[in-house]
């Protein structure tokens, strides 16, 4: 692979590069705030999608299990946080207690979903997970009677922001003469969490577990005959992916301050799948890129296409939301047709997807 800059013999260049990236990440929210605080918020949501995409990447990319109900775990995490830190039940636990609880419960749901589907092949699994996601949403929508647990379609509001020992993420603050608004504080937190999740993903990929997942993805029977406990490994993939989703959900809850089942519809699951597929299943950098692209491009379009249409035709013809969804659909189709391994393919995936069986329409042996 050709490198942009040759760092051989100059290891300090790597540190300089890292420092520059860090500086850029640190200064980014202030630059964005100049354009408008909305853009800081958009960046925060994009980072949440990065977290989700990285979590789904464990299930889809590493273990090769297509999960179309991933947003259910996000919902579980979000609702756990909302129920334990809002006036709905009058509970106000601190976030560092709730987030692990949310992650654990989401992981439990992951295992609950994984256990009955262990024996299913890819496409069946996709449909079952999709059904599971819908079941969770239907329950969230209806668990307001006879005992009001989720408050139904109205959702839960006035959710506590993160706060730690008097320092709240939900308020405006001036520190060393610099003004930190709530979204900017969350931005730093999200970047931190995203970096941690990326680090975990990278370490996982090269670990014994990661290699076991890869083996299962390539050929489950061969993997089993090599002594891999495929059942436990698949369950672990579901549980880990789900727990990442749970953490992201908890953060979503706190950042937004309000959640309702509307936020966890099927389309959201498909969006996260699109991000993973676009970037390149199994490739961490690719997945991050995919999530950022599919979060920002629609927003940029929203801010350009809408005024452009009004200027040209005097009215709105194509809603930005539609363009956004068409983009997701097109991304899925075109990527699969022309670049099946994603924008930034992982080496293994590229090899695997380039190999086509000799028989057209042939069944996998």
């Amino acid at each position: 692979m050709q490198r942009l800059i040759d760092v051989r013999g100059r290891p300090w260049l790597v540190w300089v590069g890292l420092a520059l990236v860090g500086l850029a990440l640190a200064l980014l929210p202030f630059a964005l705030a100049q354009v408008g605080t909305t853009w800081v918020r958009i960046t925060n949501y994009a980072l949440l999608y990065v977290l989700l995409a990285l979590g789904l990447n464990i299930v889809v990319g590493f273990a090769g299990l297509l999960d179309l109900g991933y947003i259910a775990f996000y919902a579980v995490g979000a609702y756990v946080y909302a129920l334990l830190a809002s006036p709905h039940f009058g509970l106000h636990l601190p976030f560092w207690i709730i987030l692990p609880i949310g992650a654990a419960i989401a992981a439990l749901f992951g295992v609950l979903l994984g256990a009955p589907t262990l024996k299913l092949r890819g496409d069946y699994l996709a449909i079952v997970t999709l059904g599971f996601g819908e079941i969770i949403r239907i329950f969230l929508n209806n668990l307001s009677r006879p005992v009001n647990i989720t408050n139904g379609p109205q959702g839960i509001s006035r959710i506590d922001p993160f706060s730690l020992d008097g320092f709240s993420f939900g308020t405006y603050e001036t520190f060393l003469g610099v003004q930190f608004s709530a979204p900017i504080k969350y931005y730093y937190l999200l970047v931190l969490v995203a970096l941690v999740v990326i680090a975990i993903s990278v370490r996982l990929q090269d670990s014994r577990i990661g290699r076991a997942w890869e083996a299962i993805r390539e050929d489950e029977i061969a993997a089993r005959s090599m002594g891999i406990n495929t059942r436990n490994m698949k369950l672990l993939a579901f549980a880990m992916g789900a727990s990442f989703g749970g953490v992201a959900g908890g953060m979503f809850s706190a950042i937004q301050g309000f959640i309702s089942p509307e936020s966890f519809i099927l389309v959201e699951s498909i969006m996260v799948v699109s991000m993973v597929v676009l970037g390149g299943m199994g490739n961490i950098a690719g997945v991050v890129l995919g999530a950022l692209l599919l979060s920002f491009v629609p927003e940029i379009l929203r801010w350009t296409v809408e005024p452009a249409q009004r200027a040209l035709f005097g009215r709105l013809i194509v809603e930005p939301e539609v363009i956004r969804m068409l983009l997701f659909g097109l991304a899925l189709v075109l990527i699969m047709l022309f670049r099946p391994a994603g924008l930034v393919p992982s080496a293994v995936r590229r090899r695997e997807l380039a190999e086509r069986s000799a028989v057209p329409g042939g069944r996998a042996p």
Binding site: R121, I127, R145, P146, L266, L326, G329, L330, V333, G362
Partner: protein
């Protein structure tokens, strides 16, 4: 009114529509082992096209039946075209690619079709025109409308027609040959591309009719109607044994019944006040009150629960035979 009989009638009606949609899934799966995710959207487009054409024709004062037939005909034509193009552009290039690839393009196509439909027909719920007057008959305390009778009759006719087509013509041989081994089928002179295209087109035509029936049964059409209907129909196909044509018919009808009876009785069964040992302890149960855990608003859950149970306990479905290659 007799709830049991009423729910059975409603279940049979909805179930026969599911069966028709399920046929589209099962035929395609039977031949190329692909879950045609976009099939639900084809059904939706069928309903929408019929809606538009019927509304356009109403002012001309044609006989109602003719209007409905023309509307359905247009829907079938458009859906065949959509079904063929989806196969041609999104699935055919990926034939022989790893399994996940066509599944992902299928999801993509489904989103694209759904949102194109939204652009054309807006995001509103459209009131499906009821131009043939519906009458209600009573059988043993249960009501059945002319629409329901028509749906049942049309579905039975369609299933019979399809069975004739698939079991009594050379098409059957070609389809089975393609399903078993496309390469050898090709060597034997079967034009596999044509067979697969015909399968998609047949499925889409059935889907179009199902869309019209579904729209006229509920009186509504919306761009999102395809996804949930598609999922239920897919569950029905799996219940019957995917790839198996009689299985899809059986699965559809059974799923409709399970759903209707489930929605009709779940409230009664989960009313904790029915159970003596619990009702004494709860305030809500005094003076004949109820404490219903799950009401009929959980109707949509049944299809998914059926799907999961079937896949866990009998992945080959009720009538399916090939277990090994699917589990």
């Amino acid at each position: 009114m007799d709830t049991l009989l009423q729910q059975i009638i409603n279940g049979l009606t909805a179930g026969s529509v599911y069966a028709i949609v399920a046929l589209g899934y099962t035929m395609v799966y039977g031949i190329i082992q692909l879950i045609n995710f976009a099939h639900g959207e084809v059904v939706m487009i069928g309903a929408m096209v019929a809606f538009t054409v019927i509304n356009l024709l109403v002012p001309f004062g044609l006989p109602a039946l003719a209007v409905v037939l023309i509307g359905t005909g247009c829907a079938i034509a458009v859906c065949m075209l959509v079904g063929y193009s989806v196969e041609r552009f999104a699935y055919r290039p990926l034939r022989g690619a790893p399994r996940l690839a066509p599944l992902i393009t299928a999801i993509g196509m489904s989103i694209i079709l759904q949102h194109l439909a939204m652009l054309i027909w807006s995001r509103n719920v459209l009131a499906f025109p009821q131009i043939i007057e519906s009458r209600t008959y009573f059988i043993g305390g249960a009501a059945i409308t002319t629409v329901q009778i028509a749906i049942l009759a049309i579905c039975v006719a369609l299933m019979a027609g399809l069975a004739l087509l698939v079991y009594r013509t050379p098409l059957r041989t070609a389809m089975r040959a393609t399903a078993q081994n496309p390469q050898v089928a090709g060597l034997m002179g079967v034009d596999i591309n044509r067979v697969i295209a015909v399968t998609f087109i047949l499925g889409a035509a059935l889907g179009a009719i199902a869309g019209v029936l579904f729209g006229s049964y509920y009186g509504l059409a919306q761009y999102t109607m395809g996804s949930i209907l598609g999922l239920k129909a897919f569950s029905a196909a799996v219940l019957g044994g995917i790839g198996n044509i009689p299985g899809a018919m059986l699965g559809g009808v059974l799923l409709g019944l399970v759903e209707a009876l489930g929605a009709g009785y779940i409230g009664d069964f989960t009313d904790l006040c029915r159970y003596g040992w619990l009702s004494g302890a709860m305030d809500a149960c005094r003076d004949g009150g109820h404490f219903i855990l799950f009401g009929s608003n959980y109707q949509d859950v049944f299809a998914f629960i059926v799907l999961i149970l079937v896949l866990v306990f009998r992945p080959s479905g009720l009538l399916g035979e090939r277990v090994g290659d699917r589990a």
